[in-house]
């Protein structure tokens, strides 16, 4: 391959480093109204009265909006395909406020100070209710968070608002109770995962204007421009045809910008005033008033025979979706569907549970999307089971894990919100990933621990993981390729580059198919008026789904060039070839440059344009093995990460440097969830960690060594052999680091994050019991 599987710098990297304007706020119209939101100070309340007259009278205030200004149209902000698998439980504005930071009213004014002053002048009288803050007490609580009659599901997802249930799910294969009863050893344990905040560097931002055709034009920092257009139209009951959504450069998303955020409110202001308007979320708003990761409790049972054969997995999950149900069901299902097939030789599986509402910041999509939670529970439980069996954890995995050419019945049963799709693993290099990872970390020399003799002990731990590549039969990507005079191309795609580099790798795929240098491909993406549809940047879909669409369109364009070249040369199409520079047939030859100029200006004039689209027929999982070495201070409990090795099977890496960046970035977000990050609340439901001083993400001081490598792998169904790589890197750190800490000091952490305090408590407990470390 000439251009695929070769390093490419991002097409926008240099320009952005040099400070070129490109992000949503850089592109707001001069003099835009500043939109500010009055947010609820209460975790759960009803607005009894609201008086905006003083705010409206303030000079410089253009408009103030409350729930009285909007119809009762419940939508979901999830930003998913349609019909949506999330409950329709959110109004643009409502008389109920369901978490601290929920929207009460909106003011738009000539500047920020005036808009903020206006918010202070809005008089609100609340009827305050007892909130539900503990998700383990939400089911059937006497406080009902969604009493509104309009709430509904688009197809059965188990929504039961009277019981605070946003969705529920159950599946089983075989007779799990019987299987477990027959096992030599059954492990039963519980894990809890915390809410994690995305903390992308660019806060959620949107600007809107009414253009010269009277159409609403939104620039949004979004991962889903097409879904955003559809949801804004639905929420505001405004024609889809009169809305254009443009996604400029985006300063990180990680799932946090899959959901709609300020788009509905800023659109409402622009439509009602006719003036341009913009909203840049404060960092506090990003924390309190967007989305975070679903906290989950896993009650898990694993059953095995003495010889180390895993026979059954029984997993009961309770998930906290917060005040609204964005991604409630689908994140829950991924906690099973992209975790449990790792062990495909079992007789029985059961995966059940509820996703409940609480009066906390809503949970939404977040890289990993349930798989990181499920991976922590399962891969930690597997290590515990190995200890019970007296078996080596690596050998146990090698014996029981999924292999190339195999399948799992779970693939057919569980999809995302609906049934899944049966598939066999055309590529699965887990064997290699484990072997190589052991070498990189020095497993044989270091497992399980080394006492440094100064109160510090080092340990190593490992885990395996899988993800998916798009949502089969649902999510579609499409691409257009246009030939210009002088022989260069436009690649016009709906796919959404949010910093992961999709514009760059999709151009590489087009270049490979056409045989032209990537510099000849000019990319334009994510504009609902000008580019063809793409579901957006989520579900690890862009490389696989959009990449396949680009490849199909580029192959079509190549055929068109050959046909037009043969016509110009007056030779048969058969035997005519295009090598990226010239079209030839025997001695006859015309350059692409001459052909393109001819088609524009001289003879047989026409525009060559190729369009194609792709929807997956399966979702080939990328796999990886993760290994960590940690150092635990037995006097303080402090855990330091010494080294992390990750060996990934993502098929072909379209751009090896960008793929590596995806894995490294994913690992560090996973390390953050494993060791540092925790969204915490006060007793009254106010978020304590609502800024970047109190919510701590890893800095570059904690990340000393990441060793990332890729397995040689070629997925036939993917573009030039590629699977996805966006999410797989995040999944392993919680289990790997938990297992490494246990191997170092014998303390098993059952709730994330793994803090020094929890480790020290565990060490002290062991000492009290007189156990040897």
């Amino acid at each position: 391959m000439k251009y695929v599987n070769h390093k490419r710098p991002s097409i926008d990297g240099k320009g952005l480093m040099m400070g070129k304007p490109g992000y949503t706020d850089d592109l707001a119209e001069q003099g835009s109204l500043i939109v500010k939101v009055l947010r609820s100070p209460h975790a759960f309340a009803r607005i009894k009265t609201i008086d905006t007259s003083k705010a409206e009278a303030l000079e410089g205030v253009e408009i103030v909006l409350t729930y009285k200004d909007f119809g009762r149209v419940p939508v979901t902000r999830a930003g998913q395909g349609y019909p949506e698998p999330s409950p329709h439980d959110k109004f643009v504005l409502d008389s109920y406020v369901r978490h601290v930071g929920d929207e009460v009213a909106v003011a738009a004014a000539i500047n920020k100070e005036t808009a903020e002053e206006a918010l202070k002048l809005i008089d609100v009288e609340y009827e305050v209710f007892e909130p539900v803050l503990d998700y383990e007490k939400a089911y059937g609580n006497k406080t009902i968070i969604h009493p509104e009659p309009e709430i509904h599901e688009m197809f059965p997802i188990g929504l039961d608002p009277k019981k605070n249930v946003a969705a529920s799910y159950n599946m089983h294969i075989g007779d799990i109770d019987k299987t477990l009863a027959e096992c030599d050893t059954v492990l039963e344990t519980t894990f809890r995962t915390q809410a994690q905040a995305h903390v992308m560097m660019e806060p959620h931002t949107v600007n809107a204007r009414i253009d010269y055709q009277g159409r609403l034009v939104l620039y949004s920092s979004t991962q889903t421009p097409f879904h955003t257009r559809r949801i804004v139209a639905e929420a505001l009951q405004y024609p889809l045809s009169k809305i254009r959504v443009i996604k400029p450069r985006v300063g990180g998303g990680f799932g946090g910008k899959q959901c709609v955020h300020g788009e509905m409110l800023v659109s409402a202001v622009a439509l009602r005033t006719g003036k341009p308007a913009k909203m840049v979320y404060t960092r506090q708003e990003v924390f309190e008033s967007t989305f975070s990761r679903h906290p989950m409790r896993f009650d898990i049972k694993l059953g095995a025979m003495k010889d180390g054969t895993l026979k059954g997995m029984d997993v009961k999950v309770l998930s906290d979706t917060g005040a609204y149900g964005e991604h409630a069901l689908t994140v829950f299902m991924v906690a099973g569907s992209k975790v449990l097939p790792l062990y495909n030789k079992v007789d029985s599986v059961r995966f059940t549970g509820d996703i409940v509402y609480t009066n906390r910041t809503p949970a939404g999509a977040f890289r990993g999307y349930g798989a990181i939670q499920g991976n922590y529970a399962l891969e930690t439980a597997v290590d515990m089971l190995c200890e019970k069996l007296g078996m080596d954890p690596v050998e146990f995995r090698q014996k029981n894990m999924i292999n190339e050419g195999e399948t799992s019945p779970i693939f057919e049963i569980m999809g995302e919100g609906t049934a899944g799709t049966a598939m066999y693993m055309e590529t699965c290099k887990l064997d290699y990933c484990i072997e190589r990872g052991m070498e990189l970390i020095g497993w044989k020399e270091k497992y399980p621990r080394k006492d440094l003799g100064n109160g510090k002990v080092r340990g190593v731990g490992m885990a395996i993981a899988m993800q998916g590549s798009g949502i089969p039969y649902i999510d579609m990507g499409s691409a257009m390729i246009k030939l210009n005079d002088d022989g260069f191309f436009n690649l016009i795609i709906g796919a959404t580059d949010i910093g992961q580099g999709s514009d760059t790798i999709l151009a590489q795929i087009a270049a490979e198919s056409l045989g032209v240098h990537p510099d000849k491909i000019v990319v334009y993406s994510s504009d609902s008026d000008l580019t063809p549809f793409d579901c957006g940047a989520y579900a690890s879909s862009t490389t696989y789904v959009s990449g396949n669409a680009v490849r199909k369109a580029a192959d079509k364009m190549k055929m068109m060039i050959i046909e037009e070249g043969a016509h110009a040369l007056e030779v048969p199409v058969e035997g005519t070839e295009f090598d990226g520079t010239d079209i030839t047939n025997g001695e006859s030859k015309i350059s692409l440059k001459d052909l393109s100029n001819r088609l524009y200006y001289n003879e047989d004039q026409k525009q060559l344009i190729a369009v194609d689209s792709y929807v997956g027929k399966k979702s080939p999982p990328p796999f990886m093995a993760g290994f960590a070495e940690v150092e635990v201070d037995t006097n303080t409990g402090k855990v330091e990460l010494i080294d992390y090795a990750a060996v990934v099977d993502c098929g072909t890496t379209i751009s090896p440097n960008l793929a590596r960046g995806q894995v490294e970035g994913g690992l560090v977000q996973g390390i953050g969830m494993a060791m540092y990050e925790d969204v915490r609340y006060s007793g009254s439901g106010k978020m304590i960690t609502n800024n970047m001083m109190t919510y701590r993400i890893p800095t570059r001081k904690e990340i000393r060594s990441l060793k990332v490598e890729f397995a040689e792998s070629y997925e036939e169904s993917g573009p030039y052999g590629a699977k996805s790589v966006g999410e797989i890197g995040i999944d392993t750190p919680p289990a790997v680091i938990t297992n490494a800490v246990y191997n170092a000091v014998g303390v098993r952490i059952h709730s994330l994050p793994i803090t020094g305090e929890k480790v020290l408590m565990g060490i002290m407990e062991k000492r009290q019991k007189g156990e040897k470390q």
Binding site: K7, R8, P9, S10, D12, G13, K14, L16, M17, M18, G19, K20, P21, G22, Y23, D25, D26, H198, V199, M200, M201, E202, P203, R249, V250, G251, G252, F254, V280, T282, R283, Q284, I498, G499, Q500, G501, S655, P656, N657, L658, A659, R660, G661, Q662, E664, G665, G666, L667, V668, Q669, N691, M692, M693, I697, P698, T699, R700, K701, I703, L706
Partner: protein
């Protein structure tokens, strides 16, 4: 109030409020390469150089810059372009939102520290958070950039 300062070598006069921060002054005067990530000096995205030293412009009162030299990434374009080459090589570009601030901090470090060790680089840049890259690609790129000179 009138604020007189030098931005990227040019004498400028801006109208500012007494409680205005340099980030807002610069952005409202079209220096949009300076961006807001937070509001309290936590993330480093808003970094500019004042008399050659990195400061968080979100929390630096504009009036403190009276008579001083303020540098945004446009003021070190040649060095930023060089660094961008190494970032591209290492897959460290990613979303790019914080990259101008990283370029400015690396530039200041290069002036201040001779042959910095890995730990010194990490310490100097610790205030520049990045959520995309996992830092390793940036680190390899910065090392390579420093080794060229």
């Amino acid at each position: 109030m009138k604020l007189k300062l030098i931005v990227n070598g040019e004498n400028k006069t801006f109208d500012v409020k007494p409680d205005e921060y340099l980030l807002d002054t610069l952005r409202s005067n079209n220096y949009v390469s300076v961006r807001r990530g937070c509001d309290n000096t936590s993330c480093g995205v808003c970094t500019v150089l004042v008399d050659g030293k990195p400061v968080a412009s979100c929390s630096y009162l504009s009036l403190k810059a009276e008579g001083r030299n303020v540098t945004t990434v446009e003021g070190i374009a040649e060095e930023a372009a060089k660094l961008a080459g190494f970032f591209g090589e290492e897959g460290a570009d990613q979303c790019g939102f914080c990259n101008p601030s990283v370029a400015l901090t690396v530039y200041a470090m290069k002036k201040e520290l001779k042959n910095p060790t890995d730990d010194e680089i990490r310490s100097y840049l610790v205030g520049n958070l990045c959520r995309c890259s996992g830092y390793m690609g940036q680190h390899r790129a910065i090392r390579a950039y420093l080794e060229v000179d």
